[in-house]
């Protein structure tokens, strides 16, 4: 019942902003926007048995699009100034399984001054580049492999974030976060204090009128307890320290800074993960525990070119390196497989306007050690309501 009400409210709200902003009481309405998404996909391997061999399953929604027609997540975003000191923001995803998921729900300060901004609640972490970009604004339908393997697709914890922007012409931003440790690679614990913390630094600027760039370095530290997955009747769990470093960059080019006709975007990130602790193996017959140490890495590089108004083409390369996994305990599931996953993805998309996009995407996915998955999909992304601002 509650869910039904929620959906009705969402729909009503999505239609409302057409008349908003014209003064009167309506001027106080928050900005509301709704994203509609869906795919029609075909793949040579069954997405049901998708796994990234060589890596511990993250438990996130990392599989490729379901076969056949499927509805993507419908995203409802509501945001507004709360008062002169705070801004509020929420994105709820209505999943095709008829569940409501809070992707982000946070407040953000407007008046701290001296370049400081504090965020609190649930938010997409500032680590990496793509992590803060909402899924509907991605250049490919799904996340890069390192995001899938090391962050379960994306990292949105419950906690606080403090950012500081330097008073310089060069863009220099430093940030720190502390959180509950809800998403992978952390685990939620009933503990006073934080289960995960991160630091990040971003630099950015322009080269002439046509090129803009940003580069960053991030560090995430979590202390998961009994982080487990099950495979073939075996439960494998990890307790210890998980550390992740990400180096990222994005470069955007447009003639004279005008992206309307043509533009080009180059984006890449490198991940290094280090986990130390204890690994458990439980097959119900001879349970074992022992020391565990892993050093794993991955990267992706993608380029997107708008060759004429409305049309863009893109290519993405992903690669994961299983690295070293040292333990005397037997390994289970995909973690046991010696494999370096890789993937090549190509896409072409057409945008009717800023508010509509249709995409054709093809990928050769070697996430599994024993098979190449050839995936083809068509995706639509429509945006209704308030004209949202897009992150760089």
């Amino acid at each position: 019942m509650q869910r039904k009400l929620w959906c009705a409210a969402a729909l009503a709200a999505a239609v409302a902003p057409a008349q908003a902003q014209v003064g009167g009481a309506k001027a106080f309405n928050p900005d509301i926007s709704l994203i509609l998404q869906g795919t029609a996909a075909s793949s040579s391997q069954d997405p049901e048995n998708y796994r990234i061999d060589g890596f511990a399953p993250s438990g996130g929604e990392v599989g490729p699009a379901e076969r056949g027609f499927s509805l993507g997540e419908s995203e409802l975003t509501i945001s507004a100034s709360i008062d002169p000191y705070f801004r509020g923001y929420m994105t709820a995803a209505l999943t095709p399984e008829n569940e409501v998921e809070v992707e982000e729900a946070y407040f953000q300060t407007l008046a701290l001054g001296r370049g400081f901004t504090l965020k609190g609640g649930r938010f997409l972490s500032g680590i990496g580049y793509q992590n803060e970009i909402h899924q509907h604004a991605w250049d490919f339908q799904d996340a890069p492999l390192p995001y899938k393997a090391f962050l379960g697709g994306r990292y949105n914890d419950d906690g606080v974030q403090l950012r500081w922007l330097a008073p310089t012409d060069l863009f220099v931003e430093l940030g720190a976060e502390a959180g509950r440790g809800r998403p992978f690679p952390a685990t939620e614990e009933s503990r006073n204090g934080a289960n995960a913390a991160s630091l990040f630094a971003h630099l950015g600027g322009d080269v002439g009128a046509s090129t803009a760039w940003r580069a960053g370095l991030s560090y995430l530290r979590a202390t998961p307890e009994e982080r487990s997955f099950e495979d073939g009747g075996v439960t494998q769990s990890f307790t210890g320290t998980s550390e992740l470093w990400i180096a990222d960059f994005i470069l955007k080019w447009a003639p004279n800074g005008n992206p309307t006709q043509t533009n080009f975007k180059l984006q890449g990130e490198v991940f290094r993960s280090k986990e130390n602790g204890e690994l458990g193996y439980d097959d119900g017959v001879a349970p074992a525990t022992g020391d565990y140490a892993s050093r794993q890495s991955g990267w992706y590089l993608q380029a997107v070119y708008q060759f004429m108004p409305r049309w863009r083409a893109g290519l993405r390369l992903d690669r994961l390196d299983r690295g070293t996994v040292d333990t005397a305990v037997p390994l289970a599931g995909p973690l046991a497989v010696e494999h370096d996953p890789s993937r090549v993805t190509a896409m072409i998309d057409w945008s009717g306007s800023e508010f509509s996009r249709l995409r054709l995407q093809y990928a050769e996915d070697k996430s599994r050690a024993d098979a190449t998955d050839r995936q083809v999909l068509v995706q639509y992304i429509f945006s209704l309501g308030a004209h949202g601002a897009h992150k760089f």
């Binding site: 902003q21 002169p84 001054g113 220099v172 992206p259 309307t260 992150k391």
Partner: protein, 297 residues
């Protein structure tokens, strides 16, 4: 860490000893802020004349510049919705947030035209508050100048008389040239033109030109072959004098139509810096009128 410190030092600007640090969204407001602020204001202009003002990105460099600004001068009327809100919230600068004294919208001082009866995206990228390209009517520039000088004198109270005196001087000169332009542009009255986007509406309304079509089928949508063919057929029935586009827009469709309809294709600066002649606000209007008169003959 040492690397970071070196970078920070390298990036530390050699700032002029100006009292007001102004962040202007577009070149016309940057130029106006310079006219009024003189040496007391240091003005940064976020975009150039060859950038489509509807499609600006919240680049890191803009966020960095907004961090230090005392005053943001933008158009408003939703022209900057796609990027300015992000720049403001990420700047960590409380002075320039929406509703603060350091946030100035030109649209608040001008009268907007083409306010739609109802808004629906099926009509294209229409703005609920009206046409935002208000700076191409010099009388709007005068109105905005008055409000902006007032705002500057509030923000930098010890130099208040400096800004207000400069504004009086500016208004005197501006009124004189406006009258001269109106005289000189008499041949433009009633001139039928095809425009690319409805970004010249204020200029057209001011001098009494006649817009007989737009290359965009709907605001914000790129010209389509079908729409261009329809325009061309219409032009055969009732011819126009020129196909006019702003410097930032794509030349291809305008040139094609001009060629097919045997009309001159005219590029107007749209804002300061759009053409050689549009070096400042005076040049912007001067050059626009000269270019259109050449086609009116």
């Amino acid at each position: 860490m040492r690397f970071l410190i070196v970078l920070l030092l390298a990036a530390a600007p050699l700032r002029a000893l100006a009292a007001l640090d102004i962040f202007a969204c577009t070149p016309e407001w940057g130029a106006l802020a310079r006219e009024l602020g003189g040496e007391r204001a240091s003005v940064y202009t976020a975009t150039n004349a060859l950038q489509d003002p509807h499609h600006v990105e919240a680049r890191p460099s803009l966020i960095a510049r907004a961090r230090r600004a005392d005053l943001v001068v933008c158009t408003g009327a939703e022209l900057e919705v796609g990027w300015l809100p992000l720049v403001l919230t990420q700047s960590g600068n409380p002075k320039i947030q929406l509703g603060q004294r350091g946030y100035f919208e030109a649209a608040s001082a001008a009268k907007l035209i083409e306010v739609p009866q109802r808004v629906d995206r099926a009509m294209g990228d229409v703005h609920a508050s009206g046409n935002p390209h208000l700076h191409l009517d010099p009388r709007n520039i005068a109105r905005v100048a008055k409000a902006l000088a007032q705002r500057m004198s509030v923000l930098d109270a010890k130099d208040a008389s400096y800004y207000l005196e400069r504004e009086v001087e500016f208004q005197k000169r501006w009124q004189a040239v406006t009258l001269r332009w109106e005289r000189e542009a008499e041949p433009l009255a009633g001139m039928p033109i095809v425009v690319y986007h409805k970004d010249l509406s204020y200029f057209i309304a001011w001098l009494g030109l006649r817009e007989v079509g737009t290359l965009e089928p709907k605001p914000g949508l790129p010209p389509s072959a079908a729409h261009l063919a329809e325009l061309l057929a219409g032009l055969k029935q009732s011819p126009a004098k020129a196909v006019v586009r702003s410097a930032y827009s794509d030349p291809r469709a305008a040139d094609w139509l001009a060629h097919e309809a045997r009309l001159p294709a005219v590029v107007v600066p749209f804002t300061v810096g759009g053409t050689e002649g549009a070096k400042d606000l005076y040049g912007l209007f001067e050059d626009t009128i000269v270019r259109l008169k050449a086609a009116a003959r």
